[in-house]
Amino acid sequence: MATSTRLARTLTRSSLRSLSKPPTTRRYHAADSPPPPPFSPAESAILSAALAHVPANGFTSTSLRLGARDAGYLDASTNLFPRGAFDLVNYYLVTQRLALKDSVQFPAESAGGGARIGVGKKVRTLALARLRANAEVGVVGRWGEALALMAQPTLLPASLAELARLADEMWFLAGDTAVDASWYTKRASLATIYSATEVFMTQDQSTGFKDTERFLDARLEDGMRVGGFLGGVGEWVGYTGHSLVNVLRSKGVRI
């Protein structure tokens, strides 16, 4: 527990730092043409086969080798993955992030009838769905290993960039279209909350991960209360700056 809490703290503390520095991999998404697949067919074949070995063998080069063999490749083909076991972790993170848009479906807003689901509720649903995948794929018991790999100094930037992309994906799928200063605080707080909950989940013994769900709800509530979620510091400063003039005017000050 001590190790994973320390890791979580490193991850969350530096996640804030790295989010203030925009990830360089972000780019214009053409809405009319889908992005190319993130992995080549050979990579996908080996890594998805290797993932099946993770519950038994962990995020290790052993799983990678077994996966290559299962997929019909030579053991030497694991040379495709210069970052070794981390490439397996990365494959898992990327594919799970991209799977979210299909695994969680919200009723269309225009459908009428059902009450509108708030963006905050949708974010919660998405975060839970993503956490549940860790249990379904059976990697929860091995997540400490994954975190240890992710927190290595040379791999930390890539891990944080992926965490930032996950937070961005969740806000996007939740239908949040705000593009003001809150853009940053929303993503930073969700990334922090999500990674803390993920660590909590590795220690959760309750049935159906009920405690994890409660933990997530408590963190989200904190986020709302402190205002890190919707009324971020940056937004507050900007808003106050330019509305100061308006407030003074509304008080009858002739400026």
Binding site: R27, D32, S33, V179, H242
Partner: protein, 246 residues
Amino acid sequence: MSLALLPSKAIRRSPRPQSLPVLDFLAPNWTSWRPVTQKARIATSAPNTSTNPPSKPLTKSQKEYLDSALRVNQAGELAAVLIYTAQTPPLTRAHPHLRPLMTHMYEQEAGHFAVFNTLLAKHRIRPTAMYPVWSVAATALGWGTALMGREAAMACTEAVETEIGGHYNEQVRVLLEWADERRKEGHTLGAELEELLGTLRRIRDEELEHLDIAVENDAKEARPYELLTDVIKGGCRAAIWVTERV
């Protein structure tokens, strides 16, 4: 609605033919506009433009260009909205006849800002990290120049629009270049970019209209004119440079 209140000068100018790239002569390779416009007209008249993707996906550097260009545009329009918001009360108190003009320009800026907000959300582009800083700076600039008087406020508009108009024009030029390259290879730009090109042209023309309004309202009479406009232009260029990066 506000158009009805406008003085005749502005009315004469504002309904510029928007589908015609009348000001593309400002973009250096203007010779290529003709075939592009024809396509753009077809694209805009089609009810469902999203079914016409580019026949060749955008390159990495093209996506990066659009990412930073649209981010700069949003920041610029945010600043424009805030400048006019801050300028209007002091200015119209001293010169009530300027109210329709200020309202007209403000409404156009608010429209531009909304366009880029939508585009950023649609294409998943992050806003500038300097958002709060630009907000404060733009308000200070608008309010400060309005206090200096009508001429200074107009000189501010003139300086800002000169930079912004040039900036939009550069983007139009780049998109025309892409269209040209693609046409030579037998490819199309796709409805999404055709539409963006049309939007950029329309907004550029409106910015240049603001520039004309400022000049007609004695922007050049501001004292010290050179210092004021140079400082503001320098500030715009610095802000664009920073926003392209963060």
